[in-house]
Amino acid sequence: MLDTSALSPDVKRLFAQVAKQAEQYKKSFDKIDTLSKQFLVDREEMMTELGETRENIASSIQRLEKYAMDTVDEFKEKVEITHRLYKELDKIDRLKSDLFDIREELKTQSLDVAKTITEFNMKAESAVERAIAQAKSTFDNSINKEIERIEGRVSRNLAKFENTQKLHERKLIAVDRSIKAEVKKLAGEIDYVYNSITEIKSDLANYFKSIIDKIQYFDEEVPRISNLLDNSIEKYNHKIDALGKGESISTSDRIVSKTAYDQEEMETEESPMFATPTSVGVIEGEMDADLFTFGDDNKKSKNKAIANKRRPKTTEEKVEDIQEELDDLDQKVMGASGRNIASFVMSMISLAGVLLVVLSQVLNLF
């Protein structure tokens, strides 16, 4: 309270009130000051945060701009596509309208065509009926003509066929005759082969008989020849001993001994084995002439005969030769009979072929 009495109490209360309010104002201003300082601090923090957020926003804006550019490009492409689609849609609409127009025209034209078709059918039916009647008459005429012509041709062909049939019958008869002649000839050849086989068998029997006789003769002669050889060997041994003992041997002894040896050899050469052919030898010659007709075999037999003449053969070798000749004879007989049978079969096959040809010609005529 003011310590004066110069001022009225109302003024004093007023000043007291003012002072009080000033105090309150001061407190509030202090509070405001602290708040403003806090506000400044918060403002600084907010400014830093604002800077960070601005940077973030700038980066995000850049990203957004890029994304926006991409989306804008995509949108532009889609817009172009939609423009194209709209243009195509316009074309489709135009085509659709054209199609409807064409369909209408087709309906009208189809009605016209149906009318014209019915008219044409009516005209065509009448024309076809007339044409069928004309064609029927012409066909009948032509069929009658053709039947007459075919009948004439058939009659001519029948006459030709009869002529050809007669010709073929004649040919068949001729062929039959020739086949019969061939068969007869073949039968004669077979008979000849059988006769020759029987002759060969009898010759073989005779040949075996002569061989047996020769073997008996050899059995008798071999001891005699061996005795002669023993005697000559003893003589030569004596001579060799004499040469070894007395040195001189007279030439007359040599000549005597040589002549004796020659005489023995001549005796052996004149033996029945190497003598002129007997009845068996004649049979051999006949067999050579009749059956050994092949060149190589004849040469071989001649060579063998020459070889036999050049050197004396043993009995075993001669027996082997005889066996070989017998085998050759058997083979030739079998070959001759086989050839005859093959010729018979071939002639039969040729006859069947001729018959088939004739039958086919006859069937072709029908």
């Binding site: 004066t4 009495s5 110069a6 001022l7 009225s8 000043f15």
Partner: protein, 87 residues
Amino acid sequence: MKKEKLDRILEKVGPKTVKEDLAEFGYLLEWVNQFMKERFETDSEFKMEIYTILYKHSKRIEPELDIYFLEHLLFNIDHFLRKTNNA
């Protein structure tokens, strides 16, 4: 030494002045209006000195002093309001 401190010392130690006596008896303002009216109206320091003596030594209510203080209060409040409004 400052004038305010000197004034406080003189106020305790020095003798009463005529102005102070006139203020105690309630005739100071009449005296000023009668003899120094022009100076009182023009010289603001003199005016302030007179009002201060009245404030300290007057034993009755001085309506002019109320008016002066209220005007001064109004001026200050107006200044305060202007400052606060501008702020």
